[in-house]
Symmetry: C2
Subunit: 257 residues, 2 copies
């Protein structure tokens, strides 16, 4: 596929919806999964917004991100309770009518009938989508997500979100994958920083990031590029630079995702 | 202090800066800490933006958040390496000159001299701030953060960020604290959802959120309010509602932060 061959970066944004993430009560686990999985597809996560369960906040985040990036994902707020308002906010963001999606209604009706359980009004809310939305299968708990244009609406519960992403990721077309090389050492950033700036200038087609260790001086220096050879060349220079500073740098296993 | 007595919510926004968080490579640990600590002070985290190491992205996030919320925190990007660009971006966001802060220079000069270590150009970068910024002490590794108006610039390494926040939190004035009550049960959200909507309407001064369990049907229903009595009253009704549905709900220990 020719698009796979170009080096134009394909980008994504993520809106994480929910007061419980903002309050610190619940720790988000979806960014890490999506950042990693999208990278494997050659799609780069560019921006994340964590917003509260307030309609204007959700609408603003969706509208900004969808105009700015190739793909947008939302997580959270599509369950059966009154605080689940993501779906109607996505409809509002697109100016689309919002109501029962016939396919979703059928799916959920059949599911609860098969279990001899009631298709309550709360559960019926989960069948509402913007008009003509394309459903996203939920192999775990049936209630679907949906896609409108470049926006993919997913649940917040990590194992359900992951199963649904797995089933829909064939809808995404990525660009060239970013590969990364990591060189770790106990050389303080304050000593490596100067030479590293020069190395970044000498390797303009790579992005060199330095991430300090949490518990002692030293850093992981990460070289990212969509060209594995350029990443290797820069990593080799970083390794040598750290040796020259008297360090004992270690090159981690290459991550070609 | 009279401001403590009013019920006007005091709000905060957070900009988390760094490609390594967006790629999924590093898991952010600062939101949870800050969300929780701010809540204890009666300050509510309203919005988080995770942005890449790109100047325009950082400037936009800082400028949007500082106009929208009472306090803004940034984490990440204030170290000695070329990819640490938060400080200069904050200066740009405020339209302030950026350069060596005399107090910060003195602190770092003395620190490296005492260790017999070199005050390298990379380390000198950590002494740059917007002009007249108020420094934030770093009891762990000396390099300070800083405050400009309502924006507090903190590092990304969690244990250093936490020590610095601890030392500066007396600069913050909170409002009434939100307290929370949590009622847990295995009653599916699809059955509790209808009655819960009515309960939310009957308890308008509380925020009732329902958070599904990750591994089985059921939910934690969280009632938040700045009035402990109103939170208790709503929690009691939620408990009874879940009993009426045949569940065996459990009221968790109250969280009065």
């Amino acid at each position: 596929m020719s698009e796979q061959e170009t080096s134009k970066p394909v980008t994504a944004g993520l809106a994480i919806i929910g007061n419980e993430i903002l309050s610190g009560r619940t720790k988000d686990a979806n960014l890490q999964y999506l950042g990693d999985e999208l990278n494997k597809l050659g799609i780069r996560m560019m921006e994340v917004r964590i917003v509260s369960d307030v309609p204007d906040a959700i609408v603003e985040a969706v509208n900004t991100l969808r105009q700015r990036y190739d793909y947008v994902f939302t997580t959270g707020g599509i369950g059966p309770t009154h605080d689940d308002i993501t779906s109607e906010c996505v409809a509002r963001a697109f100016g689309l009518e919002f109501g029962p999606n016939p396919d979703a209604v059928k799916l959920l009706e059949d599911h609860y009938a098969a279990r001899g359980d009631e298709f309550t009004p709360a559960r019926q809310r989960m069948a509402n989508t913007p008009v003509d939305a394309i459903l996203i299968d939920n192999p775990v708990s049936v209630a679907p997500g949906f896609q409108v244009e470049n926006v993919f609406v997913l649940p917040g519960v990590p194992r359900i979100m992951q199963a649904m992403f797995e089933g829909m990721k064939n809808r995404l077309t990525g660009g060239r994958k970013m590969v990364s090389r990591t060189v770790s050492s106990l050389v303080p950033e304050g000593r490596a920083g100067g030479p590293l700036t020069e190395l970044q200038l000498r390797h303009p087609d790579t992005e060199i990031g330095s991430y300090p260790l949490n518990d002692r001086p030293g850093a992981n220096i990460v070289i990212r590029s969509d060209d594995p050879e350029k990443a290797d060349a820069a990593a080799k220079d970083v390794l040598q630079m750290l040796k020259d500073l008297g360090g004992e740098p270690v090159m981690q296993e290459p991550d070609d995702a």
